[in-house]
Amino acid sequence: MTAILVQLDRLLDFFGLPDLIHYTLFNGIKIIIVLLPLIITVAYFTYAERKIIGFMQNRLGPNRVGWGGLLQPFADVIKMLLKEVLIPSNSNRFLFLLAPVLSLTTALAAWAVVPFDNEFVIADIDAGLLYILAVTSLGVYGVILAGWASNSKYAFLGAMRSAAQIIAYEIAMGFALVGVLMASGSLNLGNIVEAQAGTSVLNWFVWPLFPLFLVYFISGVAETNRAPFDVAEGESEIVAGFHVEYSGIAFGLFFLGEYANMILITALTTLFFFGGWLSPFSEVSALEGSFLSEPSFAWLALKMSFFMFCFLWFRATFPRYRYDQIMRLGWKVFIPITIVWIVVEGIMVVAKVGPWSV
């Protein structure tokens, strides 16, 4: 990857462009190298979802377009582009169209600081985690604006529910991240992963911070409004929640944003708790020197795929929570657990009895 980027830099030098254009172009190409695979991943994540849930329910899933249905996501995109974008009467036109763009932009923008291996990251900033928390919180504005601008009661109710749920779980999520910060001593995502490097799998933060990992991942599922916490959609009561009035590609943008957010949650869970791109076999002598013991992007992708599968697995397995149960889980279970764990971890860090070596 680095070699390719160096070549690219040389190629741009060859054209002798001014520094500013050179810089923008170079970073623009880097960003496209991230965004394009991400969007393709989203497309095939939707395919995987339909296929996996299909198999779990003893159905075949999509199997008509292409080989075994492999072209289904592209057919869906073309279909959505060709559908009419309907703007309901009495709605606020500008806000109505702004909402999907906003939710897509914030969902994608968080990827700017996600490191993919120990070298490749678009913006290697020291306040990486703070940036992620800030940008993902902005996503709730897309939901509220959509519900408000639609001029529909169902959309309005869905937006209220969704917003309250997202901000409730954001607190539990933030507290869980404080635990990660105490263990790693850095806000930079690359450094957080490096802090987990060491002799074996036991160095990963998931072991000392196991309750925080559970809180973080379950909050992530709730944060993205996924089953079993998808009362914001609640197709059996409020038909589709905040995006009931959206059609065509406007709906498609919400969809893209939601799935990009899910993939982001899996990436962050992997980086914070499962050693990111580190190999689990780094110290196994039988595999010394082979690619299995090297840290690489493949490990990150493998771990992310597992958590992405979990998202689909949850959806096929659990019945939907009631709204009061969701709020009880967020406020009365997760927040006390994380507060207690932060205190315990704080004492361990100061007394230097923790398993993490800083």
Partner: protein, 118 residues
């Protein structure tokens, strides 16, 4: 130092542009005629009645207010957590006092029933 943040700005521009371009493309390609029944808000087969921006449960406000308190707390905890190694016992005790006060408030709102959704 600040130059590290420049790619984020470019990233924001590109992802925003992607959304706008897709939306415009969809509006240009999508065909269809407008009629009053089609553009009226969805209402399960009824004629729409009442104002859409209706009253809603006050507990949503309560959640928002509680969120602000706790989110600020997290904002305080972040720098503390990163530098805990340096501030040591003094930092731990100071944050324990702060956290203790908030936990008292949390217990109060719990007992008052602010977290109940029945």
């Amino acid at each position: 130092m600040l130059a590290n943040y420049a790619p984020i700005l470019i990233f924001l521009c590109i992802s925003g542009a992607l959304g706008i371009v897709l939306l415009l493309l969809g509006m240009a390609l999508g065909s269809g005629r407008k009629d009053p029944d089609k553009t009226s808000p969805y209402e399960c087969g009824f004629e729409p009645f009442e104002d859409t921006r209706m009253r809603f449960d006050v507990r949503y406000y309560l959640v928002a207010i509680l969120f602000i308190i706790f989110d600020l707390e997290i904002a305080f905890l972040f720098p503390w957590a990163v530098s805990l190694e340096q501030v040591g016992l003094f930092g731990l005790v100071a944050m324990a006092v702060f956290l203790g006060l908030l936990v008292v408030g949390f217990i109060y709102e719990w007992r008052k029933g602010a977290l109940e959704w029945d």
